[in-house]
């Protein structure tokens, strides 16, 4: 069947260098002496450690629990002893250390009890929770938690796209996975199709992988599934999710939108395989296929446990002595590793040992001559030379106007630049700088708001005090004798109540949210006032002020006008709870006093 294919703008055709690593089948990498499993391996929250040093773990045991919904759990890749839970250098260019679980394997590979589940009898939410807790994330490199993408759109005809394009040079892990485990990939795709309610399933494979395409076609036939294997022209970056969606369906998913809204969802073939393992076999994600290539004697694909040091793999493949760098990913988008021993993580599709001879340093950077070679190859239809200009001048507003954040950092522009400008470095610099500034700005804005509110509050309290004092002097003149004695008792009560309220709110108030005016209103200043009030006369005055203030608040709440009914109900509920706490605190205090 011939399918109409669409085209994406630009792209380049670098030397693919894939043949070297496809000669041998996938082999399981032997256990290294230590596994260092970072907890943060996916987009989203960093999982909480569930184990401590000294504990024994089984293969597949959860060692990090997902932090919220946008996160994915982490598991022990093998059985053994936890040596440490401490920060270790991450597989990240920064060279920063993050909390990791260090496991000393016992060599027994003793699995946890595995519970395969029948996805057809499960609720979608249940399946998503299972996937999150099995740590399934996108294995194409973006490591976005997969369960978040597996939501159908009710009113849309959904198309599921399996990404087997694998356009980066050197990398062949998807290719080999498709050749050897095509049926299991498609079993995973069945689950995805089921969850998305997808009518069409398209498997995009670049035309330089005919064996993989053939294997996938046969597997689809064997499973009796209607899934179309679509061979797409080899052109980097055809394997970019957005580019592949465009090629297969003609749909362009803009930056910042979800592809579900456009009726498509795209997953890496490795992710499909992981989903199959999770649900049909009950195994969490603890390993992946990793291409080891570059400056090694025997490039090939390994099935690698997460936490395996990259140097272990390079050694297995026969790293040559002039290797001077380790690259995670391909030569177009891959990242330099801070040292050769950083662990393989979920994002590691390829480990390239590099040398100066293999990746010579670029010739000296020349000025941009505006030749627009970068424009011609940009798959996101950007104007890279303009973005470069603004990023270099640190004119970030302008850089964003030229759609800096639509840049997928594919590296095509830098690949063709005759002036050898490290264009992508400028974009990465500008992007992280903009994010940092946005964070700073948000923090400053929130600090300003809180400071202004505090100033306003202090101002108001001063006024209230003055008013109260004036009122009291006036009243005092009239009933000076009568009031003097009995006033002491209620004043004491009010004092206690105020202290209790402050205490209650101080502990109840949620720290993360900026304080609600009504709450903040009471807590800090009341505490401030009550603390030094040892002098009974002072206490008298303050208690009176407090009483008057409460009265006024009861009569005319300042910031609660024009509220919705729901809000009103919520406030009433909070007030009721507060009153109860006050009551309890009061009795408690009295008990304590007596």
């Amino acid at each position: 069947m011939m399918r109409e294919l669409f085209n994406f703008h630009g792209g380049v055709k670098p030397e693919t260098n894939k043949a070297q690593s496809t000669r041998e089948p996938i082999v399981v990498a032997p256990l290294p002496p230590h596994l260092v499993v970072p907890l943060h391996q996916s987009i989203g929250g960093t999982p909480h450690p569930l184990v401590q040093a000294g504990e024994r773990v089984l293969k597949g045991q959860r060692i990090g629990a997902a932090d919220g919904n946008v996160s994915a759990a982490v598991h022990a890749p093998t059985s053994g002893k936890i040596v440490a839970v401490e920060p270790r250098v991450m597989a990240h260019t920064s060279g920063l250390a993050m909390l990791s679980v260090v496991i000393e394997p016992d060599g027994e590979e003793a699995w946890m009890p595995l519970y395969p589940s029948n996805y057809r009898s499960m609720q979608p939410d249940e399946i998503r929770d299972t996937l999150r807790d099995a740590g399934v994330v996108g294995l194409g490199g973006a490591v976005f938690p997969s369960h978040l993408k597996l939501k159908g759109a009710r009113d849309k005809r959904m198309t599921l796209i399996l990404n087997g394009a694998e356009c980066e040079p050197y990398i062949t892990c998807d290719d080999m996975l498709m050749r050897e485990r095509a049926q299991d990939i498609l079993r995973g795709a069945q689950i995805m199709r089921h969850m998305l309610g997808a009518q069409d399933v398209l498997i995009g494979i670049e035309d330089n992988k005919p064996e993989a395409a053939q294997a996938m076609r046969e597997a689809a036939r064997a499973l009796g599934e209607r899934m179309d294997v679509v061979v797409v022209p080899t052109r980097y970056p055809a394997g970019g999710a957005k580019q592949l969606i465009r090629v297969l369906t003609g749909i362009e998913v803009p930056h910042g939108s979800r592809s579900t809204d456009y009726g498509v969802q795209c997953f890496n073939v490795g992710t499909a395989y992981a989903i199959h393992e999770t649900l049909n076999l009950g195994r969490p994600l603890i390993s992946r296929i990793v291409t080891v290539s570059g400056n090694v004697e025997r490039p090939r694909n390994y099935e690698v446990l997460f936490g395996t040091p990259m140097s272990h793999l390079v050694k297995l493949a026969g790293g040559r002595p002039d290797t001077d760098r380790t690259i995670m990913g391909g030569p177009m988008m891959g990242y330099l590793m801070p040292n050769p021993d950083v662990p393989v993580v979920k994002a590691t599709n390829c480990v390239i040992a590099g040398s100066r001879a293999m990746f010579p340093p670029p010739p000296p950077e020349m000025p941009c001559i505006r030749c627009t070679a970068c424009v011609d190859v940009c798959p996101a239809d950007l104007q890279p030379h303009e973005m470069y200009w603004f990023a270099r001048a640190k004119n970030f507003g302008k850089a964003q106007e030229y759609h800096l954040f639509d840049c997928i950092e594919c590296g095509c522009c830098a690949y063709v630049c005759p002036s050898h400008i490290p264009l992508v470095d400028y974009y990465r610099f500008a992007k992280t700088e903009i994010w940092a500034r946005e964070r700073d700005k948000a923090a400053a804005d929130s600090a300003r708001e809180r400071f202004e509110f505090r100033t306003f509050r202090e101002e108001r309290e001063k006024e209230e005090k003055a008013a109260k004092l004036a009122a009291k002097t006036a009243a005092g003149r009239q009933t000076a004798e009568k009031k003097a004695v009995p006033a002491a008792a209620p004043a004491g009560d009010a004092l206690q109540a105020a202290a209790a309220a402050a205490q209650a709110e101080g502990t109840v108030a949620t720290p993360s949210a900026p304080p609600q005016p009504a709450t903040a209103d009471l807590s800090a200043p009341v505490a401030a006032e009550t603390a030094p009030a040892a002098d009974p006369k002072k206490a008298l005055i303050e208690a009176a002020i407090e009483r008057a203030r409460k009265q006024r608040e009861a009569v005319s709440p300042k910031n609660t006008d024009n509220l919705s009914d729901a809000k009103r109900a919520e406030i009433a509920e909070i007030e009721a709870r507060r009153a109860k706490i006050r009551e309890m605190a009061k009795t408690h205090d009295e008990d304590g006093a007596s």
Binding site: E15, N339, P340, D341, M366, C371, A380, Q383, E386, G411
Partner: protein, 357 residues
């Protein structure tokens, strides 16, 4: 080398942080073998057929000028790079100064005195290019700025062209500052000849009559000029095939000339020359493939390129037909150079996923 490591000896946690200023670059680690030098070299190569045709029709004097201009360009570039504290080797080797020098020579009369060639080249390199920041920074096309200033300063010398077939010795003599009284040797360019004839005839002669009568004219355009133009076209097609220039600029420039000249010709065929004459006379073909396509001072968006080149074409024909100068390409290009930031800003193409906005 500090970056190298043997796999066995590096203990975990030994290297906490890759020193940023290490000499390892970030991705991409592979690059297409492209350089400014190779781009400029291919531009020079593409000019060779035109130069050959030039020599064939107008003699080898041009070669002397090419040598003078190249030397002046390199000297000026070197002096300015030194003054600005820039590395000299790579910037001299990028060949961009040579391209500017050759374009100046190819737009100037081949028998112009050597000091004009040298002065104009120095002006282009020192003032128009280096003082604005050197390679890639100049807002104006250096060759065209040099042409414009020279034709304003020395209008007479800039409009004397040798007749076809003038021998090398007398050309050399003229270049080296010889006496210029020989009408037998020098004459006007076809565009100039047509203009002068039309002005002096003041309506008594039609274009067709002038073209049939003058010795400066050939089959379609100027004698000799038309074949030089064809050679430039060949060179331009090579550049297009090499993807050094896109089709936008030449196409828009040529069709702009055809449309504007064609409209005028349709209005009054007696008064205005046919489009083919405009195409094959003066610097049209050189401009279409080598001058308006200058990336540094031109527009960069696809639509912007079309507007830039079409605008240049319009101004060129208007100046040729109604202005005081025989050829208006230099002024047209400079005028459009000024508009480039605006054109680029207003013609940003939609980016991926935002095409419906």
């Amino acid at each position: 080398m500090p970056g190298s490591h043997t796999l066995a000896t590096v203990a975990p946690r030994a290297v906490m942080r890759r020193p940023w200023k290490s000499d390892l670059n970030n991705s991409p680690y592979v690059r297409k073998p492209a350089s400014v030098q190779s781009v400029m070299l291919r531009v020079l190569l593409a000019l060779v057929p035109g130069i050959a045709a030039y020599v064939w029709y107008f003699g080898a004097g041009i070669l002397v000028n090419l040598a003078i201009a190249s030397a002046a360009a390199l000297a000026g570039e070197a002096a300015m790079l030194h003054a600005r504290g820039r590395p000299m080797g790579i910037f001299l080797a990028d060949l961009s100064a040579i391209v500017t020098a050759w374009l100046i020579v190819l737009t100037f009369p081949p028998i112009v005195p050597w000091w004009i060639t040298a002065g104009a080249t120095l002006f282009a390199i020192v003032i128009v290019k280096q003082l604005y920041g050197g390679l890639g920074q100049n807002p104006f096309n250096p060759a065209m700025a040099a042409y414009a200033i020279t034709i304003v300063a020395f209008p007479a010398l800039m409009s004397q062209w040798p007749h076809a077939g003038v021998d090398f010795a007398s050309q050399l003599d003229l270049i080296l500052g010889g006496e210029r009284t020989l009408d037998a040797i020098t004459g006007a360019t076809p565009l100039d000849a047509l203009r002068t004839a039309m002005h002096s005839a003041a309506g008594t002669q039609t274009v067709a009559q002038v073209l049939a009568g003058g010795t400066a004219f050939g089959l379609f355009g100027g004698r000799g000029w038309e074949w030089i133009a064809v050679a430039y076209l060949l060179g331009g097609l090579y550049l297009w095939q090499q993807r050094i220039i896109s089709w936008h600029m030449p196409a828009a420039f040529i069709s702009g000339i055809v449309v504007v000249a064609g409209l005028l010709h349709l209005i009054n065929a007696d008064q205005f020359a046919a489009p083919i004459f405009h195409l094959l006379s003066g610097g049209t073909m050189l401009a279409a493939f080598f001058i308006v396509t200058d990336p540094v001072s031109g527009a960069t968006t696809p639509r912007g390129k079309l507007i830039f080149a079409a605008g240049a074409a319009l101004v060129t024909v208007v100046i040729r037909t109604f202005g005081a100068y025989p050829d208006g390409i230099a002024f047209a290009v400079l005028l459009m150079n000024i508009c480039v930031p605006l054109i680029d800003m207003k013609t940003q193409p939609p980016v991926f996923g935002h095409k419906d906005d």
